[in-house]
């Protein structure tokens, strides 16, 4: 049984979820440690590339070009995939994708599937849908297996069980695999997973995968991984079903040259992934004889239509931004209420919800820019965050209750003040007078009202000086005369 999927529609606002997550000090230690380890490895392998910045630019260029001509490349992919013997399906939203996949699995005659790690299947909560039709999905990626057996949810797009440490993983395996005396060394845990999965690989006849890239020119699909379990799922089953967002397209096979340099270094700090699989359609007597691709929109064309945030779709899901993000490092992934956590989650999730949900996520950032700095395809995440904040403000303003929106009223009043020097001076004087009413101690304010109370939660505020700079300047000019 899988745990309840993370759902942005019902998730609490980020500040509330974050506060709860930060109470779990074990989680914080795990996340800190894991992100630190990956970041260090990434920094080392990035530093050895003299042309890293040029590579990033090439990556950005490929992705931008692809999105500008996405309709063309999607159709090219469909034609080429079909020519090679694949069957292409189109799903408008998560519900349609689930129906298609459940139908295909049933048609394959199997009530079990083996799965390769795929965030897209997490996005559409596929496991829960399969289970409700009495189909058993078996996750074969080590981290995903940990999540599944622990009835947990992924907290990181590359290392979904990043929030768990070895001891916790050992406990899950012991309990679920009935292994009384399991050690907690990495090789003990890998051995346990290997024996548990081997049997599934050998008898389950239907496989489900995601995709790292869809290659329009050839109709091929590319998956990169570290463990080799994916390669098993891609070769042993009779039927293979791949689910991929429409944003996963690459125009040419040659584009992999750039992407397969950027992705492993950014994601796991490896120069190359141990397993790089590319397959095209079906081949008689070799591998799965039935191959389906489900192309998922689920909000993506909406993002494509917004040219200011279209770059969100450039993402190649390396998670470098998550590892670099000081907010993610404090809270872990679950606080984002979505399978996409961290900076990429903060921009992607609300847009996949057509901005109806997850409106606190664009504010879950100090705009420090660490994400942009490491992004292998140069997505300017802070810029997109600000753009989405504007959308949130506009949406709120359109609502009737907006006349009671204290933040909006305050912001508007301040903006009017700043438009005129005299009004600004008057406001400075008024601020000084108002501040006198606040509790103070030796020239420091220790309490602020309402929303501003967040400030004095752990900081004091020095009292306002008696004289503003401009008053001082004016006096000085007078004295000079």
């Amino acid at each position: 049984m899988s745990g309840t999927a993370l759902d942005p529609k019902t998730a609490p606002a980020f500040p509330i979820a974050a506060r709860a997550a930060m109470k779990d000090s074990q989680l914080q230690r795990n996340v800190h440690h894991a992100t630190q380890v990956i970041q260090t490895k990434r920094a080392r392998v990035v530093a050895e590339m003299a042309d890293w910045q040029e590579l990033r630019e090439a990556g950005e260029h490929i992705r931008r070009h692809t999105m500008e001509h996405l309709d063309f490349y999607l159709q090219e992919f469909e034609v080429n995939c079909a020519r090679a013997g694949g069957i292409v399906h189109w799903a408008t939203d998560a519900e349609e994708a689930r129906q298609i996949v459940v139908g295909l699995v049933k048609a394959s005659g199997s009530d079990e599937v083996i799965k390769i790690k795929s965030m897209t299947t997490e996005e559409i909560a596929l496991n829960q849908a399969l289970e409700s039709e009495d189909i058993h999905p078996f996750e074969t990626d080590l981290a995903e297996l940990i999540i599944q057996l622990g009835r947990d949810q992924p907290s990181h797009i590359v290392v979904p069980a990043l929030h768990k440490n070895r001891k916790q993983i050992k406990e899950i395996f012991q309990r679920e695999m009935h292994l009384a005396d399991l050690g907690d060394r990495p090789e003990d845990l890998a051995d346990a997973a290997r024996s548990f999965l081997r049997e599934k690989f050998l008898h389950v006849r239907t496989g489900v995968s995601g995709a790292n890239f869809l290659i329009a020119e050839t109709g091929g699909v590319c998956v990169v991984e570290s463990e080799g379990n994916g390669r098993m799922c891609l070769t042993l089953p009779e039927t293979l079903i791949t689910i991929a967002g429409i944003d996963k397209i690459l125009p040419r096979f040659e584009d992999l040259e750039v992407m397969l340099q950027l992705l492993p270094r950014s994601a796991t700090g490896e120069r190359m992934n141990p397993y790089n699989s590319v397959w095209t359609g079906v081949h008689a007597g070799d591998g799965p004889q039935t191959f389906h691709v489900v192309l998922l929109d689920n909000g993506r064309t909406g993002i494509l239509a917004d040219w200011e945030s279209r770059q969100t779709l450039h993402c190649i899901r390396c998670a470098a931004c998550q590892n670099a993000c000081p907010v993610y490092r404090q809270t872990g992934g679950h606080a984002y209420g979505s399978v996409y956590a961290g900076p990429i989650g903060a921009i992607l999730t609300p847009q996949l919800q057509e901005m109806h949900y997850a409106q606190s996520l664009p504010y879950a950032s100090s705009l420090c820019g660490a994400c942009y700095e490491v992004c292998p395809v140069k997505i300017n995440i802070p810029e997109v965050l600000i753009h989405l904040r504007q959308k949130v403000v506009e949406q709120n303003a359109a609502q009737v209750s907006s006349s009671f929106d204290i933040e909006a009223l305050g912001m508007k009043a301040m903006a009017v003040t700043f438009r005129n020097e005299r009004r600004f001076r008057a406001a400075q004087r008024m601020g000084r007078a108002a501040a006198k009413l606040l509790p103070r101690k030796d020239g420091w304010i220790t309490w602020l009202p309402g929303m501003l109370g967040g400030w004095t939660q752990m900081r004091d505020l020095e009292e306002m000086p008696q004289e503003t700079f401009r008053d001082w300047w004016q006096k000085r000019e007078k004295d000079d005369r």
Partner: protein
């Protein structure tokens, strides 16, 4: 870079420095005049619009951009003691102006921006200086604000200025590239996360045993100072300009 040239500088103090940190403005004036430059203060200036823009109130920020251009268009060099405000201008003013559909404003921004400098950047990049004749006999650590570090690429400029200060004992801050957790309205909207990031930063500051933590942005410093004061550490924060304004015998 114009070593030795004397300029007519225009100070954009920024709204929060004007109101909360007038000492920083005075220090900027002191340093620039000591180096022989003249300082002007266009009176109609108010705010760059950063807080509004970053919080999602772009419509409210737009008139402030226009105001800034009107006030400063004739300046020889605009000097601003706030890295985040300069980042706001460089990163967002061009596209804001374009979006407003006013060709004159687009040209105005285009012409003005190359003359806009963050304070330390004005000294190191425009004037090519490191030693500005300062004296400051304290143990000091430097916090590289994110906007200075990433958006403005200030690099080691501020550190080079500090190293040239006589009497100073400069200690490097661990985790220099880490955000302090201020982030404007982030500090109140996400007070818990901001507070946790801040706790890591103040721990790093205390580890240096510095008496003073400096930066090119008083907004980060106000946030760091707030916690250092709450924790009764006795460590002060001070804008870089105020350290560079220090003089022997001035009893800093």
């Amino acid at each position: 870079m114009d070593r030795g040239i004397l300029l007519r500088t225009s100070l954009f103090i920024t709204c929060y420095n004007d109101t909360l940190f007038p000492g920083t403005g005075k220090a900027v004036v002191r340093v620039l005049e000591r180096l022989g430059h003249t300082v002007e203060f266009p009176r109609g200036q108010t705010c760059c619009g950063q807080m509004h823009y970053n919080t999602g109130y772009q419509a409210e920020a737009a008139p402030l951009l226009e105001r800034f251009v009107t006030q400063f268009q004739d300046a020889e060099a605009v000097v601003i003691p706030s890295s985040s405000c300069v980042a706001m201008m460089r990163d967002h003013y061009p596209k804001m102006a374009a979006r407003m559909g006013k060709p004159d404003l687009v040209t105005g921004v285009e012409r003005l921006l190359p003359r806009v400098f963050e304070f330390s950047e004005f000294l190191t990049k425009r004037l090519g200086l490191e030693d500005v004749g300062a004296y400051y006999p304290r143990r000091v650590t430097y916090h590289a604000s994110c906007h200075g570090l990433r958006n403005l690429s200030l690099g080691d400029g501020p550190m080079r200025l500090l190293k040239a200060v006589r009497g100073i004992e400069l200690v490097e801050l661990a985790g220099l590239a880490e955000c302090c957790g201020f982030g404007g309205t982030f500090a109140v909207k996400n007070a818990d996360v901001s507070g946790a990031m801040l706790a890591e930063k103040t721990a790093a500051v205390l580890d240096t045993k510095a008496e003073v933590c400096t930066a090119c942005d008083n907004s980060c410093l106000m946030h760091i100072q707030g916690a250092l004061h709450r924790q009764k550490t006795g460590v002060k924060t001070l804008h870089l300009a105020e350290i560079l304004a220090g003089e022997e015998g001035a009893g800093s």
